[in-house]
Symmetry: C2
Subunit: 141 residues, 2 copies
Amino acid sequence: MIDSLDLHLKPIGWVHCPAKKPPRHWTVSDLEGELRMDPRYLEGLRDIKPGQRIVVIFYFHKSPGFKDRFLIQSPPHMNKELGVFSTCSPRRPNPIGMSVLKVLGVEGNVIRVKGLDMLDGTPILDIKPYIRPRATSDPDD
Amino acid sequence: MIDSLDLHLKPIGWVHCPAKKPPRHWTVSDLEGELRMDPRYLEGLRDIKPGQRIVVIFYFHKSPGFKDRFLIQSPPHMNKELGVFSTCSPRRPNPIGMSVLKVLGVEGNVIRVKGLDMLDGTPILDIKPYIRPRATSDPDD
């Protein structure tokens, strides 16, 4: 194990979104906005189509540094405390966020999306296809 | 836009998995293994329960550096080329992976999981609760 491993990432785009206070989570958001991608990655966007869902991995750029007292948190919409890894809080050891957004349209390096829960200017780290888990007969699924 | 933004992340745990060649994707994997988390985050794991699904964000530590020729790729199980952001390839501008795993059990800082598609020693960046999108009447969903 390499405990001191220091990983470097760079934004591949930025969220553009007019809302001062976006909804707390993509599952309850109808907010529309844009993902303005670095034009150097234009070719890699070519199979993103209107109507589909995408997974957007981003950086919580306004998150304060992580402290041990954030290991247990009370999400704003819940009346209980949860371990940080069972929440979507921006205050987490690595300030990485993940949202599933609906694609409304793609024009060049700009992806119009719906379901935003990020702040204007949020750095985007990755976009992936949204894939559902396999259906199983497991009642817990 | 801050084009030179350089983001630093640290592993919060590592994948332990016996397979030399894990399945290509979590949706087709029954592989079991462990997420061995840094004990400093133990308290944050307390609400992760057997039977649930979790989202695991990780670092493709064996991925080669990204080159423009990786903007279009042919996934191994498909007979067509796709833009990188429509694939789950480890060769991407930021080598971040995301898998949805089933929790089999939690003992201290070790989470036993099923559905692994990562290599042994993969650095884990984050764990989040798995949340489905809202059901809608949209036929594209």
